[in-house]
């Protein structure tokens, strides 16, 4: 068990390190990030001075050393455009993003599981087909299109829900549903196929043969065993959730991290972009590590096999 977790922890650390290196190399690979800062009439001397100020005149390995040392001290740099620590910029915007993601996750689980169960139990019936149609739509339609269609219908046509900002609880509905739909799809598809697998197991047949009532078979024998691996599926969906939240937050002008991060790309504000990528990557890695740990605790087979 401990060895398994140590192995996973090592892998997580390696992932973060590779992300750090990739960020550093990519961001410094082309041109100076300062080009956006130079005034139109900057003299070469001023440019050199500016580069010295930002430590960009040193060699790449040196810069990398400084960069890692700074990160280790919790100094993630200063936004080139806004001239204040990137950590503060992100700290201000963290809450709305977490709230939205958490809400989407809850909707995804609460709606996705029953859809998948219905699709498995009533295979071939109308209800199952409808459930899988919903799942398929969530799978094949991208976030930004779901967002636009929902805005058209609920904000402009029916006038029920607001489409931009996060001022009131109603503001949460459209972005959260948009973010949740692909999650619902993934969970429903997963639940369906796993339920169908589990229902063919010997112990389910045994339970039925010895006269256990069908609802009890479904909940205690089938669902219990199908739900456990769902933890892993959710861990894998985190990356997708982050992809989605970057887009959904931009579409709905959500006051969260998404806009900061995508905005930093077009403004070439590298410290902001770099911290955003590192923070998101670390979040994914941490969540996946937790998922692995949780799973190892819950399922003894994982511990034994490793």
């Amino acid at each position: 068990m401990l060895r398994f977790l140590a192995w996973r922890l090592g892998r997580a650390a390696l992932t973060v390190l590779l992300v750090l290196v990739a960020c550093f190399v990519a961001i410094r690979a082309t041109g100076s990030p300062l080009s956006v800062l130079y005034p139109e009439d900057a003299t070469p001397e001023q440019a050199v001075l500016l580069a010295q100020q930002w430590g960009l005149d040193r060699s790449l390995p040196e810069q990398f050393g400084v960069y890692i040392a700074n990160l280790a001290r919790g100094d993630f740099g200063v936004s080139i455009i806004e001239r204040r620590p990137v950590t503060r910029i992100y700290a201000e915007k963290l809450r709305p993003t977490l709230q939205l993601a958490a809400l989407a996750l809850v909707i995804g689980i609460v709606v996705g599981i029953p859809l998948g169960v219905v699709a498995a139990l009533r295979r071939g019936k109308v209800a199952a087909r409808a459930a899988m149609a919903v799942a398929f739509t969530g799978y094949a339609v991208p976030h930004f299109i779901i967002a636009i269609l929902l805005i058209l219908l609920f904000s402009y046509h029916l006038n029920w829900l607001p489409s931009t900002g996060a001022a009131t609880p109603q503001h949460y509905i459209l972005p959260a549903v948009t973010l949740a739909l692909p999650l619902i799809a993934a969970i429903a598809r997963y639940m369906r196929s796993t339920m169908l697998d589990v229902m063919n197991q010997d112990y389910v047949r045994t339970a039925r043969a010895k006269g256990v009532a069908e609802p009890r078979v479904v909940t205690l024998h089938v669902m219990r065993n199908a739900l456990l691996p769902l933890i892993t599926v959710l861990g894998l969906e985190v990356a997708g959730l982050i992809n989605g939240s970057l887009i959904v937050e931009t579409v709905f002008s959500w006051p969260g991290l998404g806009k900061v991060l995508t905005g930093s790309v077009s403004r070439r504000d590298f410290p902001v972009l770099q911290f955003g990528v590192i923070a998101y990557a670390m979040a994914v890695v941490a969540i996946n590590f937790l998922v692995d740990a949780l799973y190892a605790v819950a399922d003894p087979r994982v511990r034994v096999e490793s």
Partner: protein, 301 residues
């Protein structure tokens, strides 16, 4: 007598090679898949022949005819079937060109990802040991990092040149091929004919190209088909955000992005390209799911 005859010929019918070809034949497709296959062919034709199919020049502005609704609505004109956008460009023509750009980028990205992933997967599977471990470690890293982040960093560093975009988009899914191909190679590697070939003095390269690749063709085809929609969606999401394809070139995604500003009064500007995206991903996803079932490929772990 008939029954005897048919039962006598049955074994030949069920030989795997033969039946696969039969199951893949157009006549045996379920109706919904037939429709999807025909739509896919239509889309391919549109992609290739867009310049000859468009009723108008996609970039010709006609400011007097701006924001005209689609032909079926009141005020619509039959010359602009999908209506016009904010500067009076014909939306149908723009959509057809947009399909060309989006599908073109997605296909190139698909090929790049497949080449990288397959190469690394074959190497990983054939060599094993340390090489295998390093490559699989890379796969793990790529799976856990959201691919939009990778593309964002790449775009910030290297700009939004179309070639850069194609490469970054291709990079986004390479790990799926690497994983599946490696698994297949590990299976194929143990086959007696590989051993025989090795005994005859064949090298790694020969075995990889002559024996392994033909055997992993069907999972690769399925994977390519299933990855196509997600790559197309990645490109259109990027273009929608304004960090993908740059004007004057328009992909379906950037057209939806442009239309977002006119949603209240002219919903069709965004909805027409959005529906094209949905149609393409839907059709290809259906075909991919069907192919996976027919070819009996398990690709999720």
């Amino acid at each position: 007598m008939n029954a005897v005859l048919s039962s006598a010929t049955a074994p030949a019918d069920s030989a795997p090679e033969f039946s696969l070809r039969r199951r893949l034949s157009f006549r045996r497709m379920p109706a919904s898949i037939k429709a999807c296959a025909m739509l896919a062919v239509l889309l391919a034709l549109v992609t290739v022949f867009a310049p000859w199919l468009t009723p108008h020049d996609p970039d010709a502005t006609q400011i007097l005819a701006k924001l005209k609704p689609p032909a079926f609505m009141a005020g619509g004109e039959s010359t602009h079937v999908f209506g016009t956008d904010q500067v009076g460009r014909d939306l149908l023509s723009r959509c057809l060109y947009g399909v060309r750009v989006s599908v073109g980028i997605a296909l190139l990205g698909l090929i790049i990802g497949c080449l990288i992933g397959t190469t690394l997967g074959v190497i990983s599977g054939l060599f094993g040991g340390m090489v295998d471990r390093v490559i699989m470690m890379l796969v793990d890293v790529f799976i856990s990092v959201p691919n939009l982040l990778i593309v964002l960093v790449g775009v910030a560093a290297f700009g939004t040149d179309i070639l850069v975009l194609v490469f970054l988009i291709g990079l986004a899914r390479w790990e799926t091929y690497a994983r599946v191909v490696r698994g297949q190679v590990l299976q194929v590697r143990e086959m007696p004919y590989i051993e025989a070939s090795r005994a005859l003095g064949a090298g790694h390269a020969w075995i990889a190209t002559r024996h392994v690749l033909p055997n992993i063709a069907s999972p690769l085809i399925v994977l390519l088909t299933l990855n196509f929609p997600s790559i197309l969606l990645l490109e259109s999401s990027l273009s929608f955000l304004g960090i993908g394809v740059q004007p004057p070139t328009a992909s379906l995604g950037s057209m939806v992005g442009d239309g977002r500003d006119h949603l209240i009064f002219a919903w069709w500007v965004a909805v027409a390209p959005a529906l094209m995206i949905v149609a393409i991903t839907f059709v290809v996803q259906m075909l991919g799911d069907w192919l996976r079932d027919v070819m009996d490929v398990r690709i999720d772990d």
